[in-house]
Amino acid sequence: MKHLISIRDLSRGSAVALLDSAQQLSQVNQRAVKSLPALRGKTVVNLFYENSTRTRISFEIAAKRLSADVINFDAQASSISKGESLKDTAQTLEALGAAAIIVRHPMSGAAHALANRGWVSASIINAGDGRHEHPTQALLDALTIRQLKLSGSDLTGVKVLIVGDLDHSRVARSNILLLSLLGATVSVAGPAELVPEGIAAMGAKVYKSFDEALAEQPDVVMMLRVQLERMQKNEDFTTRDYVKNWSLDQARLGQLGKETVIMHPGPMNRGLEISNQAANDPRSAVLRQVENGLAVRMAVLHRVLSGEVTN
C-alpha cells in the first residue's frame, strides 16, 4: 500500500490487517519505552491546510514513536497566503526529503490529486479532504468498535448508528464505507437538509429520526460534530431544534443498552450534539478513540512507508 486516500483503496483483508497491526502497536503504546525504530531516517511531513491540532498531534506522535523525523508545515500560514499551488508546495516538501506527506485540505480530492497526478512520489496519507474522507478516523473507530464489541477480526453483526450532519462529514463517509466493508450494519440519521442525496448507495440505511433509529437498538452510536461555522450560515438552523431532535441527551442516553458504545470523533460540542452526561458516561469510548488514533496512524505510516504489515 503506497497511499491511504480513501477507504475504497482497502479490501476487507487489508483493512483487517491494518487493524491487527494497530492492535499490536497499541500494546507498544502501553510499554515504558514507547518507540520503535521502524521508520528511522525517514521524514514525514504534516501538511495541514486546515486547523486541526488534534489530528496533527496524533500523526506527529505516531510518526515519532516509529522514530521518523517529523516536519509540521502549516500551510495556512505560509503558502496559501502567497498563492503557491498544492503541487508546488508538495514538490518543495519532497525536495526537502519527505517520504510521506500527511495532508489535511479543505477541498475534496486534494489528497487524491497529490497521490495520483504524478506531482510527487512520496506516500500520501489523507488526514481529511473537504467533505470526502478521513480514512484514519474510520480505522480508529473500527478498531475501537472491534475492541469493545469483541466481534472477532471484523465487525460482522455489529449495528452502528451515525447521527448528525452527514452532508459535511468526511468522518461519516469514511465510516460508512469502512464499517460496512468490515461487515457491520450501518445506519445514519440526521436533519433532512443535512442528509445528502444518494448516501444510502454508500452502504447505509437512512432513518428520518434519531428516536426511530434508536429503537433498532444499535450496538454503537456515533455522534457527529455539528460544524457550527457551517450551520450558522443556514437561516433555518436553531440550536434549540437541533438539540431537541438530534442530540444524544439524557432521555436518549436512557434508551441505550447497557453495552451500547458511545462514540464521537471530537472535538465535542457538549450540550449540542452530545450532552454532558453522555460524554461522561462510562459507555463513552471517546478517549479510547483518541488512543486508538495513535495506534492506527502508526500502523498506517508503517504500512505505507515500509510496504509491509507489522505482524
Binding site: G109, G130, R131, P196
Partner: protein
C-alpha cells in the same frame, strides 16, 4: 483541381466529385483519375455551432489559428466561436477581429458568435444589431459560459434577434441552483464530497426559455443539453411548434460522472458529465430529432488550469478533433442511425442554425466544403494534437473511424490525415 473518386455519399450512392476554383463542378462518374475514396464516406463539411477559441485574451490556451487547425483535423469546415474572450465579443470590433483572424488562418470558416449581454454580465443587452450588421454578419448570440438568467433580459434578447431572423443560444444553468457546483448531483457527488449540480438547474431554464421563445415568436437554441429531463422539455416544446433547436456534446453522449471518481480535472466540464441513463436519453433524442445537432464545446485550457485540485480547476475539455469519431461510435457503430442522420447532425443543421449558406451541402455550383470520413481506421488520443492545449478527456481511448480529408473552399485543409499548416 481536386477529383475525389468512388466516394460514398450519405444517401448511399457512390460518386466522383470534381472540384475546381473553390466550387463543386461535377458529381457523377468522372473519367479522369483522382484521389481514391473507395470505402470512404463523403459528407458536407462539418460545422461546429459551439467552439471556444480563446483569442483574444487567452492565446496560451488556443488561438484562432490553432483552433482552426484542430477544426480541420476534426473534419470541420466551419466553426462558431463563442464570445467569452477577453475582451468579450460583445461589439463589432472584437467580432471582426476574430472573423478576420479566421480568414487569415484560412483553414475553416470562423463565424464569431456575439455576446447577448455586455461583458457577459447578464445586466444589459449588448449591441446585437451592430454585430449582425458587421462584416461577420452574426446571426447567433450567446453568453455561453454564463446563463442569461434574467427573464426580462432573455425576452428582450429574443425580440432583438427576431428583427433579423437571428437566434439566441442559451447556456441553460440557473445560477442560484448551482452555487459552487462541481459535478452532477447524486450519489457519486455525495460520496466524493463535491457540491452537486442538479438537473433541474438546466431543465427549468430550458422550459422558461421555450415559453419565452413561444411568446416572442423568436428562435431559441439550447447549448449542450445534458439531461434526460432536458430532452423531454425540448420534445414538448417542439411538439408545440416552438422554434427551438438543441445541441449535445460528444462528451455528454459518451462519458459519465463516474470518471469524476478520479478527481482528475480533465473531466471537469460545464455542464457536468451526467449518468449513463442521460447518455442514452441524449442519444435517443438525437436519433428522434429532438436534439438537432452535435456541438463540441471545444474548450481548451492551458496546463496550470487543470493541473491542480478539482475545485480550483477550470471547466472544459477539448472536442474538435475527436467529435466525428465519437459520433461515429455512438450513432453509426451502435446501429442507432445512418450516414444521412450523421450528416444532418454534424453539418446540415448547425450550418442552418448559424446561417452559414456555404456549408451543409454537396451540390454542383456550391462552395466545396467536404469532409471525407474513413469509418475503418483507428484513431488514438495521442494523434489529436493540433490544439495548443491538451485537456483531452479521452486519454487512453481509441476510436474506430476518423477523418481522412477535409476540403474547405475547394482546398485540402487536411489530406490523408495530415493537417495543412499554411494557407
Amino acid at each position: 483541381m481536386i477529383i475525389l473518386k468512388n466516394l460514398t455519399l450519405s444517401d448511399g450512392s457512390i460518386q466522383d466529385i470534381r472540384i475546381d476554383a473553390g466550387q463543386i463542378v461535377e458529381i457523377g462518374r468522372i473519367a479522369d483519375s483522382g484521389t481514391d475514396c473507395t470505402d470512404l464516406i463523403g459528407l458536407s463539411g462539418f460545422v461546429d455551432p459551439h467552439t471556444h477559441l480563446r483569442e483574444p485574451g487567452f492565446e496560451a490556451s488556443e488561438t484562432v489559428f490553432s483552433g482552426s487547425k484542430a477544426a480541420a483535423a476534426g473534419g470541420y469546415t466551419a466553426i462558431c466561436a463563442m464570445a467569452n474572450t477577453e475582451p468579450v465579443a460583445d461589439n463589432s470590433t472584437v467580432i471582426e477581429r476574430v472573423y478576420d483572424a479566421g480568414t487569415e488562418a484560412g483553414l475553416c470558416f470562423v463565424q464569431p458568435i456575439g455576446a447577448v449581454t455586455k461583458g457577459l454580465k447578464g445586466l444589459e443587452l449588448a449591441n446585437i444589431q451592430d454585430m449582425s450588421r458587421s462584416r461577420a454578419k452574426v446571426a447567433m448570440f450567446s453568453d455561453d459560459g454564463m446563463c442569461v438568467h434574467d427573464e426580462n433580459l432573455m425576452r428582450q434578447a429574443l425580440l432583438e434577434v427576431k428583427k433579423f431572423g437571428g437566434v439566441v443560444a442559451q447556456h441553460a444553468q440557473e445560477p442560484s441552483l448551482t452555487i459552487g457546483a462541481q459535478m452532477n448531483q447524486g450519489a457519486v457527488a455525495t460520496e466524493l464530497g463535491l457540491t452537486g449540480w442538479p438537473a433541474i438547474a438546466e431543465e427549468q431554464i430550458i422550459a422558461r426559455d421555450a415559453q419565452l421563445a413561444e411568446e416572442t415568436g423568436s428562435r431559441l437554441h439550447i447549448c449542450h443539453l445534458t439531461t434526460g429531463g432536458g430532452v423531454e422539455v425540448v420534445r414538448w416544446a417542439k411538439a408545440k411548434g416552438i422554434q427551438i433547436t438543441a445541441e449535445v456534446t460528444p462528451h455528454h453522449l459518451l462519458l459519465t460522472e463516474d470518471l469524476v471518481r478520479t478527481y482528475d480535472p480533465v473531466y471537469k466540464v460545464n455542464p457536468p458529465l451526467r449518468t449513463a441513463d442521460d447518455n442514452r436519453a441524449l442519444l435517443a433524442g438525437l436519433v428522434d430529432g429532438t436534439i438537432d445537432m452535435l456541438g463540441t464545446d471545444h474548450a481548451p485550457h492551458s496546463g496550470e488550469k487543470k493541473d491542480c485540485e478539482w475545485e480550483n480547476a477550470a471547466f472544459g475539455m477539448l472536442g474538435l478533433e475527436s467529435a466525428a469519431s465519437i459520433l461515429h461510435q455512438v450513432l453509426i457503430q451502435s446501429g442507432a442511425g445512418d450516414w444521412a442522420l450523421f450528416e444532418n447532425i454534424i453539418s446540415k443543421r448547425p450550418a442552418k442554425l448559424a446561417g452559414l449558406n456555404n456549408h451543409g451541402f454537396i451540390k454542383v455550383g456550391d462552395q466545396a466544403n467536404i469532409t471525407v470520413f474513413n469509418p475503418h481506421e483507428r484513431i488514438g488520443v495521442a494523434e489529436m494534437n493540433q490544439s495548443k492545449s491538451n485537456n483531452n478527456p479521452y486519454l487512453g481511448l481509441e476510436f474506430i473511424g476518423r477523418v481522412q480529408h477535409t476540403i474547405y473552399q475547394g482546398q485540402y485543409t487536411m489530406i490523408d490525415q495530415l493537417v495543412r499548416d499554411q494557407k
